[in-house]
């Protein structure tokens, strides 16, 4: 026996996990949660006017809104990454007085109804706003009614998602690797860039996905702050809302387009990023 050729294991099923049976205590609620999230989508799919769908998709206005949505959500996510990851680092790694309050303040745009968020942005960055006045006088920059305004509104609403996800990831990361990097002469910036950031990359990706998705679906703050004009500020959610006023079927089609595009993008991107480290 001890010199027999290695035998193949006769295991039940092709993908049997080493660590045992799946616990129904977890699988049951997980499936329930999934159904809860996906079922309403089924409702939309059933109601969608399939015959006219293709023809509607060909409308240039739809493509324009879609393009604008994707571009502005992506740029907003980049802005959020540039500002939000450092902010998360500050909250997770630096002790300063009032940190608890600051951490709670970061969630403000989440709690604020988006329309009020838009009003608040107007009060600050609008033509007569605190900072907006000065921006216009000094640099000739006006944000409302421009694509830049859409990005600002989306970034404002979506950034908390990024900050909170990344902060959670940073707190969960083993700080001793950062210590090891420090003994190798790495400044805090280098530590952040070459050790901390790569190690919390799954958290950053998760946060960026949340942020991007939230920006893509943003409606209230965008229309309030940036307005709604085809080509410059009318993103898909705005088009959907207006369609809802007159023909709900069209709104469903537009929503499905938005969903399909985002699901395809997320499904093709996330696993590659997430499984990297």
């Amino acid at each position: 026996m001890s010199s027999s050729a290695p035998e193949r294991l006769d295991l039940p099923g092709p993908r049997r996990e080493v660590s045992g049976r799946l616990p129904w205590m977890l699988v049951l609620p997980a499936v329930a949660g999934l159904v809860f999230l996906v079922l309403p989508l089924a409702g939309l799919l059933i109601r969608a006017p399939w015959p006219t769908l293709l023809e509607r998709l060909a409308e240039p206005q739809v493509l324009e809104a879609l393009r604008l949505s994707l571009v502005s959500a992506t740029v907003a996510t980049v802005v959020c990454l540039l500002l939000g990851v450092p902010l998360a680092w500050l909250l997770a790694r630096v002790e300063f007085p009032g940190r608890r309050l600051v951490r709670a303040l970061v969630t403000v745009p989440l709690v604020l109804p988006p329309v009020v968020g838009g009003v608040a942005l107007l009060l600050v960055l609008g033509r007569r706003g605190l900072v907006g006045q000065w921006l216009e006088a000094s640099f000739g920059i006006t944000l409302p009614f421009t694509t830049a305004g859409v990005i600002v509104a989306e970034a404002f609403v979506a950034m908390p998602f990024l900050v909170i996800s990344v902060e959670g990831a940073l707190r969960g990361a083993d700080r001793r690797f950062e210590e090891a990097a420090a003994t190798l002469g790495a400044s805090r910036w280098t530590v952040f860039r070459r050790v901390t950031l790569p190690m919390v990359m799954p958290g950053v990706v998760a946060g960026a996905v949340l942020c991007w998705a939230r920006a893509l679906g943003e409606f209230g703050a965008t229309i309030t702050f940036a307005g709604n004009f085809p080509g410059t500020t009318r993103t898909m959610p705005l088009a959907v809302y207006l369609a809802l006023e007159t023909e709900p079927e069209a709104a469903i089609v537009l929503s499905l387009v938005l969903l399909a595009v985002s699901v395809v993008i997320l499904a093709s991107l996330r696993d590659r990023w997430v499984s990297a480290p």
């Binding site: 026996m1 001890s2 294991l9 080493v18 660590s19 049976r21």
Partner: protein, 343 residues
């Protein structure tokens, strides 16, 4: 036989293929260089690494079809893996709790085990507050707490200081003696292996290269790795009566046989001379000093030449001979200290 296993694990640049038979109450030590596959073998036994083939049976029941949590094993990991959010006591009580023992009873048992490893006073400490060796001892207690039928230990004593090590080693030895299941122990320390194990299995590159009783392995190493482990110079050659030809060199030995052979002699048996000696030693060759290092109370001299060898000499002899690296020198070993055995 309690444990009969054939472990096959294929990895891109590595294949493990071992037969492992451990009797009830027997302690088998797995030795081997870094990367030999010792941890992989233990993980396969525990059900943590999927086997590509083979099978495991414990007391006649197949084990490889069970998930890790249903295998009656206790395991101590190379880097402890204590649960960071639980106190030392709750880490140890974790296993009994999973087996359905009541909370109070589990904690009592855990406290008793912590006491046995000398950590009664640190029961409420979190792993992050324990020193390396303390953490290792808690991990040991945690594995013992599940009263396993098969105990797997991945370098259980590596992080312990000499003092504690001695104590924990002899306690572990006593526990293993009481223990009627099989034990597989991975260690780098030949002393641990000699003291704790009934049998040694030496693996290199995923395959067994030598096994046997500790004394047997120590006397008759069959690979360079084992020879260094037990502190012998080892060569492979061809025996022809009382002489073994190793490369260019002809070594005289006490044993008489023909055919492929190993020859071994201890570094302490090597004598060094500045000029060619006219004495009784039959085995004499010219060597170059490759390096000199302190070794315990003695000095270990690395020799290059027709064979590479270590020689252990006293510091006084180093001074007398005025040895320096690069120097040419004569080395000799008495035939009575040179042992040959079939390869």
């Amino acid at each position: 036989m309690t444990l009969r296993a054939r472990l096959v694990v294929n990895r891109p640049a590595f294949t493990l293929d071992l037969d492992l038979h451990v009797a009830a109450g027997e302690v088998v030590a797995l030795l081997g260089p870094n990367g030999a596959g010792k941890t992989t073998a233990l993980r396969a036994l525990a059900g943590l690494t999927r086997m590509s083939g083979g099978q495991i049976s414990l007391r006649g029941r197949p084990l490889h079809t069970l998930p890790a949590e249903s295998r009656p094993i206790g395991m101590v990991f190379q880097d402890y893996l204590l649960f960071p959010h639980l106190s030392a006591l709750d880490n140890v009580a974790f296993g009994p709790r999973c087996q359905g023992v009541s909370k109070a009873e589990s904690r009592r048992a855990a406290a008793a085990l912590l006491e046995r490893v000398g950590l009664a006073g640190r029961a409420s400490a979190r792993p992050a507050q324990l020193s390396g060796g303390q953490a290792q001892r808690v991990a040991l207690a945690r594995a013992l707490a599940v009263r396993p039928e098969l105990l797997l230990l991945d370098e259980p004593l590596a992080a312990l200081d000499a003092h504690t090590r001695l104590e924990v080693r002899s306690r572990l030895r006593r526990h293993l003696a009481d223990f009627d299941g099989a034990t597989v122990l991975v260690t780098h320390d030949p002393l641990d292996a000699m003291v704790l194990a009934d049998r040694l299995i030496v693996i290199e590159h995923g395959a067994i290269v030598q096994q046997g009783a500790p004394a047997e392995v120590a006397r008759r190493p069959r690979t360079d790795y084992v020879a260094r482990l037990v502190g012998l110079n080892l060569y492979r050659g061809t025996a022809d009566g009382g002489r073994v030809k190793v490369g260019e060199l002809l070594l005289h030995t006490c044993e008489q046989f023909d055919g492929p052979a190993f020859v071994a002699f201890p570094p302490a048996a090597v004598a060094l001379y500045r000029s060619r000696p006219d004495g009784s030693p039959r085995n004499l060759w010219r060597a170059t000093i490759d390096g000199i290092e302190r070794h315990g109370d003695n000095v270990r001299v690395h020799l290059d030449g027709p064979v590479t060898a270590f020689a252990d000499i006293t510091p006084a002899a180093v001074a007398d001979l005025d040895l320096t690296p690069g120097q040419r020198i004569w080395a000799s070993v008495k035939a009575t200290e040179t042992h040959a055995y079939p390869a």
